[in-house]
Symmetry: C2
Subunit: 253 residues, 2 copies
């Protein structure tokens, strides 16, 4: 996702050194420590806890504006260990990411209660995969035959739009994808008294940028997803009175 | 997802009794054991292992055609415990679910190697969220103004289609969503020598059915997703010579 495959962690006089994407973005992952990237890391909790502790204590992070720990879903070993290791440093809090359906929100309610129980402030909830928005002309179009086969008619549709329906060419088509008729993350946040930060739609261009290790902010390609992310970042900065200088640094990379 | 919220596990003479969706589908989940559904289960590995063992050994499952264990992503406590507890019974194998992008496939390669290492046969890999397919008329359409605002023009577009472009009304619009230019799960399966079972598109109707606890096979609503699932089930039955009678039983519920 950051284009760092195959990189190694280096040992410096001060401890392990993170791998740098850019002068202002360092990364550590167990992926850097495996001889074979496909190898499974078959570890039970205590070993995972040991590594998390090493990543926080034995790594020379230098001066940091933000330390972001990307954790798996759940409320188990990783989460307990992170809270135990970082608790003393006075961490700002947790950002919780969900998708819009009830089946996800059920789990996210548990995560929020975990944070409340262990005394971690919930900085806010992000609703990811919040519908798909894409320019009409970027879709593929198929016609289903009577026997259930799909025939690709994209070329024909694009010609049709150009010649007969030019008014439709610039439209953006949106699908809800996941059912959010129950109110989604926004309603859950109101019910649980935590900030709602915003929605990020499924944007194929953002997915592509992530695959290629490109930032979605350096060009105009991610026209649907990048503005949604910016709104969330702005809100996070504002709500928590983080320095705006840091924000501008972040966009630059 | 199965419409079982608020149900309790019962104690019978033979042990714990699963909660039945239907006479041929019993379910057990830690969710049934919590007094408050929002409460976080803050357990480290050993307690999770204990519960998994109880679910397998202390529950009166009666005669089963299939026992499906839905596990979280990863190769840690849950997976090791399941393999240890079920190893002696001669389990058929593991079905691995992924999404099409490289960032998911990197993790799934590790899962496959985990299975190989612990001697669990990989029955196959399913590519989920494999693009979005939806009838054109089910989309919402917006026009972006010069200031970046979105104006909903869905009504106008639907009228336009009806009056001026009726040929377009029956089309299905497809978006790749996640970048699969690297070949997706199918290519990975070829490389790793495991069966590829098929692709399941993001189908808003299936998402809705799951939210409401409805089977996608009982009516024609899930016209895009249900046929995709059927192909996968058929392949699984065929590859592994499972009894076809069982398959028909399964569709009935």
């Amino acid at each position: 996702m950051l284009g760092l495959e195959g990189q190694d962690i280096r040992q410096s006089n001060f401890g392990w050194s993170p791998v740098y994407v850019d002068s202002n973005l360092g990364v550590l992952s167990i992926g850097f420590m495996l001889p074979d990237p496909d190898e499974a890391v078959i570890w039970r909790g205590p070993r995972k806890k040991g590594l998390i502790k090493n990543f926080l204590k034995e790594v020379y992070w230098n001066e940091l504006d933000f330390l972001v720990v990307d954790s798996p879903p759940g409320t188990s070993d990783e989460h307990i260990s992170i809270v135990q290791c970082l608790g003393a440093t006075g961490m700002d809090g947790a950002i919780i990411v969900t998708t819009p359906q009830q089946v996800s929100l059920i789990d996210v309610r548990k995560e929020i209660n975990f944070c409340k129980k262990v005394g971690v402030k919930v900085l806010g909830v992000v609703e990811n995969m919040s519908g798909l928005s894409q320019p009409v002309m970027d879709f593929k179009f198929v016609r289903m035959t009577e026997t259930g086969e799909h025939i690709d008619v994209s070329e024909w549709v694009r010609e049709y739009f150009k010649e007969k329906a030019p008014e439709l060419q610039d439209l953006i088509a949106c699908s809800e994808v996941f059912d959010s008729s129950s109110g989604g993350a926004e309603k859950m946040c109101r019910e649980m008294g935590v900030p709602f930060l915003g929605k990020v739609p499924l944007d194929p261009q953002i997915c592509k940028a992530a695959e290629e290790g490109r930032s979605c902010f350096i060009d105009q390609k991610c026209g649907v997803g990048a503005p949604a992310l910016k709104i969330i970042i702005e809100k996070l900065i504002e709500n928590n009175e983080f320095s705006r200088v840091l924000l501008n640094n972040a966009y630059a990379s």
